[in-house]
């Protein structure tokens, strides 16, 4: 399993935050991770992380900034030029997935997350593939 220095996740549903916590801890090899429960002061908070995140998993339906807005903030800061940004979405319709692709996400993982394939997908995205598993 690939080593990840830092993983960040934004998830507003408490149950799903727990799911993410467990998935990260149990299936990935992550040295440091953080899970935000909303997107208030998103970028300052990302910058204040002790380690620069290698990968960020973003729920789309989050406030005050939704997934797309957060993506743009990351993309506009050159510090995060090689940070992978993955959408976590419960909207699996084709149109929505297409919108994610065009916005510049490195990949998407649909909800419910498939436990067995989650680490594989993360690893492939980290290796530069563009994966749209929804």
């Amino acid at each position: 399993v690939i080593d990840i220095d830092c993983l960040l996740c934004v998830e507003d549903d408490s149950s799903n935050r727990l799911v993410m916590k467990l998935l990260v801890e149990k299936t990935l090899n992550v040295r440091y991770y953080a899970i935000f429960e909303d997107s208030t002061d998103f970028l300052p908070r990302v910058r204040s992380l002790p380690v620069r995140p290698n990968i960020i998993l973003l729920d789309i339906h989050v406030s005050p900034f939704n997934g797309f807005q957060m993506l743009n903030m990351i993309r506009e800061d050159p510090v995060y030029f090689d940070t992978k940004v993955v959408a976590l979405t419960a909207s699996v319709m084709n149109e929505e997935v297409e919108k994610l692709r065009k916005s510049g996400f490195d990949g998407a993982i649909g909800k419910p997350i498939t436990l067995s394939t989650f680490p594989v997908v993360i690893e492939r995205i980290m290796n530069g593939e563009s994966i749209w598993q929804v």
Binding site: L22, A90, S91, V92, P112, I113, L115
Partner: protein, 1166 residues
């Protein structure tokens, strides 16, 4: 050597005199001496006699010889006979050329040819310069005297005797004897004899030369004389050639002669004189070649003589052409040199013998050639002088003509004067008794003869081309025509003027302007034949050319002047016409037009009385609407036509009449009394008819009491134009009324069209019904200038009338009051026809029980009601009351209003239909929008629900799975089984959510595919089989793969295709308990055929349609639960969205086969 071995008779003979001489010196006694002396004298005498005999015989021989060579041969042979010398030579020196020649050289009895050579050295030279005999006795002596040792082992001999001789003053020569055997072979007596013979020969030669020279000179003189004669009698070059050629042939018999002349311009050699075997022949010019005799002679200017081996010699010069065309044996080529330049050559050929041409011949030919050259040069110069002279004359003549024409032009002579001038000049120049200038009028095809002179001037009228044969000829040839005899003239079809002498000779040249023939000039000579030669013809042509240019200029000038005049006149006419037109425009009446034109005429013609007379056929009277007498406007009573004979004449003929002289007498011719200028007698007058069509209906009369010839042709033209203008103006005035009437009709039609247009526009701009009423009402008011307009509509349901438009006394009235039907309403509905009440409206009010609407009905004098029809129904009416007069409405007004009404009713009907359609359309649109909105709302709701449901499912499914897998803590087997059930149910719920979402999207028409190119079907099938692999194993079913190894990649929505595959395969597994599940994919070209075949219970035929309906499952008990019943309808929709088809083939108990097709390329679907 043979020479030395031979015993020579010469030596014996030579010894003999020598011995006697020696004997004579051996004197011993007187007697003996005397005897010896007598003996000696006798011997001497004998010898002398012998010498004399020789000399005498030589002289006799010489006397009969006149040729150089014969004389020399004779002397040489005699010397040989006397002395028997082994070598005898006679040398001649030509002082002019500096060459030595040996006409006689005899050695050992053989004549030897010795080539000429310059006299630079040699023993002969010594002899000649010594001018006395040279007698040398030894070889040393001979060599010491400059003798040239002969080659090939010859020696100069042992003894030499040479004597000089003179020939005339110019030639020196020497007679030499050689002895090859003995020293001192020649004695004094030999010297004497030889000297005497040499002297005799020299005299003979001199005589021969003199004779020759005399002959030559005589011949040359003869030729020169003849040439001079030829020149004097103006013979041309050819004559000189003939002369010289003939003379040469006269001198040289049996000889063919040629004269070749080279023309450097054409590089041609001409043969003006050539004979073949003594006969004259004609040879065409040939180009001068680089090689050949002629070329050589012309190039070098040297004379060539070929006396031997002619053919070979000629070939040396690269030619095979020989004189006379026959193989000659001797030939001479002598250049004709003018100014150091060979211009030609004289060629003589003798076909009979070699050596036919002697030096003397050459000299003669040279002289002849020189004479001829000079003569030819003179002739050429003479010719040139003549031609220059002629050119000068010609130029002078031309200039004279041009000057005449220019002078004519300058002095404003008319064309005729110029023709006269030129004609006279030409007659002068050519001393011709007859001259004529002809002009072709190509449009009329007639020949004009502006100048014709034959001893006196003739006037000749125009005549058609064919009547003049020469003109016809000229037109077809466009070339000068010359005739030298009257016969030639006759042959051309020439005729002579009446009472004229025969034309003996003459010529015609065309008058050309550009490429067009304008005419011709001809001259005729009555005195002599062949009066004109080619150069005269050229001169005449040149003159004609000059003249035609000058005449063309003159003509153009003339034409310009004429056009200028015409333009001026046209301007004046236009001014008048404009005045008349202006008059018309300001609606003047007929009298005003007469006044206008009359005044204008007065303005133009001063001191002229003017009358305009108009004929009235009904009364047979001439009215005089305009009359100026003595400068005063006077009123004149109508005149009876029978009292105005002149006018009657003009009216009858329609012709203009001009009287410029003897006015009174002229009038009398027409049996007319003085009617014009009643107080004075006019001297000139003009009568111009006023015509319309072919009919004269009046006339203009002008008279001048002061002078005759007051009216020239241009005045007449102007008056005619004025008359025409006035006629037109009058006719226009008549037509004006008619036009007005037509205009009104047109206006009316325009009004109708305007209404219809307005209504159509109104329609187009979607006006409502009231707007149409307003529009039509306003239009009627505007266009008919109506005082009042009403538009009323009927409502049959309530039997009421509604006022839609009301305009009265300059004001719009609005009322929503409804009026019940009255009798008028019933009348209009029943009759469906317009009602016009033009009188007695009060009675009508009572009859139709009308209600006074606006309180003004009492005042109405006329009124019209026009029903508004819709199909057969009367929907209302338009009404126009008129309070001013009765009978206000004509039939045409009613027609117009009917048009309005029907236009309006159509428009209204259209509007009603339009409104109705629009209403229905809007309703339908609203309904559809509502449906769409509802659908979208449902779709949005479901989409949102799906999202909301997935969020907790994410937690449930993952938590359960993590626990089940023991990731959270240890779990026992029983717990795992329960957790697995929970997980299974959760996933089922998730599938349900997905399917519901899909089906709702499909039903809302919002299903969107996301195509990917290059999708590998094989990979998708394998991925799907991976997912269901566990299930297969669980149920113990056998999977059969039947997948084409060469499947193309396809364009499709990968996720959706996999969804379909998963649905079909999992269905198959789900409903099959034992046996096999077969998955096959076949390539069918444009599409792939998928099949999923199971060995399950199958689907009865009558249920097969139902399985594709949402929310329905076949009720076979077997097919139950586990599915939402949405899978197949969703799959079919997804496949159809790809452009493919999905179907089932099954029988109850026989398993099921599900097929679908998938296009390889993306299909654009509606």
């Amino acid at each position: 050597m043979e020479v030395t071995k031979q015993s020579s008779d010469l030596r014996k003979k030579e010894n003999r005199p020598k011995t006697s001489v020696l004997d004579a010196g051996d004197d011993t006694s007187e007697n003996a001496r005397l005897a010896n002396e007598v003996q000696r004298l006798l011997k001497e005498n004998e010898q002398r006699n012998a010498e004399l005999a020789i000399i005498s015989s030589v002289q006799q021989g010489l006397a009969s010889k006149l040729e150089f060579q014969s004389i020399i041969d004779l002397v040489g042979d005699q010397v040989h006979a006397i002395t028997n010398a082994k070598s005898i030579s006679i040398a001649l020196y030509d002082k002019t050329s500096g060459m030595m020649s040996w006409p006689y050289w005899l050695t050992l009895g053989k004549r030897i040819e010795i080539s000429d050579r310059p006299m630079e050295k040699g023993i002969t030279r010594r002899v000649m310069y010594a001018n006395k005999p040279l007698n040398l006795g030894t070889e040393e002596e001979i060599l010491a005297h400059d003798a040239i040792p002969p080659q090939n082992g010859w020696t100069v001999g042992k003894s030499f005797l040479g004597v000089p001789f003179t020939v005339g003053n110019a030639m020196l020569g020497a007679l030499s004897l050689h002895d090859f055997d003995n020293d001192h072979a020649f004695n004094e007596s030999d010297e004497r004899l030889l000297q005497t013979l040499a002297n005799s020969m020299s005299i003979a030669l001199e005589n021969a030369r003199l004779f020759d020279e005399t002959e030559q000179r005589a011949a040359a003189l003869a030729i020169i004389n003849r040439v001079q004669e030829g020149l004097a009698s103006k013979l041309d070059m050819q004559a000189i050639y003939e002369l010289v050629g003939d003379k040469i042939r006269e001198i040289f018999r049996n000889t063919d002669a040629e004269i070749r002349i080279y023309d450097p311009k054409s590089n041609l050699v001409h043969f003006p004189y050539i004979t073949d075997k003594g006969k004259r022949i004609v040879v065409d010019p040939i180009p001068l070649m680089d090689v050949g005799m002629s070329s050589y002679v012309l190039r070098t200017g040297k004379t060539l003589v070929i006396n031997e081996n002619l053919m070979q010699e000629v070939e040396k010069y690269g030619t095979k052409i020989v004189p006379g065309g026959h193989p000659a044996k001797s030939a001479v080529f002598v250049p004709l040199v003018v100014n150091n330049q060979a211009r030609g050559l004289l060629v003589l050929g003798n076909v009979e013998r070699e050596h036919a041409f002697s030096n003397a011949d050459m000299r003669l030919l040279q002289t002849l050639a020189n004479s001829m050259s000079t003569a030819l040069e003179n002739a050429r110069l003479f010719d040139e002088t003549q031609s220059l002279l002629k050119e000068t004359q010609q130029r002078n003549a031309e200039l004279a003509i041009i000057n005449s024409v220019q002078e004519g032009l300058a002095s404003n002579l008319d064309m005729q004067a110029i023709y006269d001038l030129v004609g006279d000049k030409i007659r002068d120049i050519f001393h011709a008794q007859g001259a004529a200038i002809y002009l072709f009028d190509h449009t009329k095809e007639v020949l004009e003869t502006p100048y014709c002179y034959l001893k006196t001037r003739f006037e000749i009228e125009s005549r058609p081309f064919p009547e003049h044969p020469i003109a016809k000829l000229m037109l077809s040839r466009l070339q000068p025509i010359i005739y030298r005899t009257v016969e030639e003239y006759r042959v051309m079809g020439g005729t002579i003027l009446e009472n004229s002498e025969e034309y003996k000779s003459g010529m015609y040249v065309p008058l050309m302007v550009g490429k067009e023939i304008k005419g011709m000039v001809g001259i005729a000579n009555l005195d002599k034949e062949s009066a004109y030669n080619d150069s005269d013809l050229r001169l005449l042509q040149t003159l004609a050319n000059s003249m035609s240019v000058a005449l063309e200029n003159a003509r153009l000038f003339d034409e310009t002047q004429r056009l200028l005049k015409v333009t001026e006149q046209r301007n004046a006419e236009l001014a008048i016409i404009n005045s008349v037109q202006e008059g018309l425009a300001s609606k003047l009446d007929m009298q005003a037009i007469y006044d206008l034109v009359g005044d204008k005429i007065r303005e133009i013609f001063y001191n002229t009385d003017t009358e305009i007379r108009v004929y009235d056929p009904q009364t047979n009277l001439l009215h005089v609407p305009y009359s100026i007498e003595n400068g005063q406007r006077v009123a004149v009573d109508p005149i009876s036509l029978s009292d105005a004979r002149m006018s009657a004449h003009v009216l009858r003929t329609g012709q203009t009449l001009v009287i410029n002289e003897n006015f009174v007498q002229e009038l009398e011719k027409y049996d007319a009394k003085m009617v014009l200028g009643r107080m004075y007698h006019p001297k000139s007058g003009v009568f111009v008819p006023l015509s319309m069509g072919n009919q004269a209906h009046g006339l203009i009369i002008l008279s001048n009491v002061e002078r005759e010839h007051a009216f020239d042709s241009s005045d007449v033209r102007l008056l005619q134009t004025l008359a025409n203008s006035m006629s037109t103006a009058l006719e226009n005035a008549r037509l004006f009324d008619e036009t007005q009437r037509l205009l009104k009709e047109t206006e009316q039609r325009n009004v109708e069209l305007a209404i219809i247009n307005s209504v159509q526009q109104g329609l187009a701009s979607k006006l409502d019904m009231q707007a149409i009423y307003d529009l039509v009402g306003d239009k009627i008011r505007d266009l008919l200038n109506a005082q009042s307009v009403w538009i009323i509509t009927f409502d049959p349901a309530t039997r009421t009338r509604r006022v839609r438009y009301s305009f009265e006394n300059g004001q719009r009235y609005y009322t929503s009051e409804l009026f019940p039907y009255n009798k008028l309403t019933e009348h209009l509905i029943t009759t469906k026809k317009p009602l016009v009440i033009n009188q007695n409206f009060t009675e009508a009010i009572a009859r139709f029980e009308m209600v006074n609407i606006a309180g003004t009905q009492e005042q109405v004098k006329s009124i019209v009601y026009i029903p508004i029809m819709a199909g057969e129904d009367v929907k209302g009416f338009i009404s126009l009351p008129n309070i001013e007069r009765e009978n206000a409405f004509s039939e045409s007004d009613v027609n117009l209003l009917s048009t309005f009404a029907s236009s309006m009713s159509i428009a209204l009907e259209n509007i009603r239909l339009f409104d109705e359609t629009r209403r229905l359309f809007l309703e339908a649109k609203e309904a559809r929008t509502a449906a769409e909105q509802a659908n979208q709302a449902k779709s949005a709701f479901l989409s949102s629900m799906s999202h909301e449901l997935r969020t907790p499912l994410n937690a449930i499914i993952n938590f359960v799975e993590m626990v089940e897998r023991g990731m959270i803590g240890p779990v026992n087997q029983e717990q795992v089984e329960v957790l697995d059930q929970a997980l299974h149910s959760s996933k089922h719920l998730l599938n349900l959510i997905n399917d519901v979402l899909d089906i709702s999207k499909i039903q809302a028409g919002q299903l969107t595919l996301f195509f990917e190119d290059q999708v590998s079907v094989q990979l998708e099938v394998e991925a799907t089989l991976n997912i269901v692999g566990g299930l297969l194993q669980e149920k113990g079913l056998q999977l059969i793969r039947d997948i084409d190894p060469h499947l193309p990649v396809v364009s499709c929505d990968r996720r959706r295709v996999r969804q379909v595959l998963l649905n079909l395969i999992s269905n198959a597994i789900k409903f099959t308990h034992k046996g096999t599940v077969t998955v096959s994919v076949k390539n069918q070209g444009q599409e792939l055929l998928f099949a999923v075949i199971d060995t399950g219970p199958g689907i009865p035929l009558d249920k097969q349609a139902l399985i594709f309906e949402p929310f329905i499952q076949a009720e076979n008990g077997e097919r139950q639960l586990q599915g939402t019943g949405l899978g197949l309808p969703i799959s079919r929709s997804l496949i159809r969205a790809h452009g493919g088809e999905l179907w089932v083939e099954s029988e109850s108990g026989e398993g099921s086969a599900f097929f679908f097709t998938l296009p390889v390329d993306r299909k654009s679907l509606p």
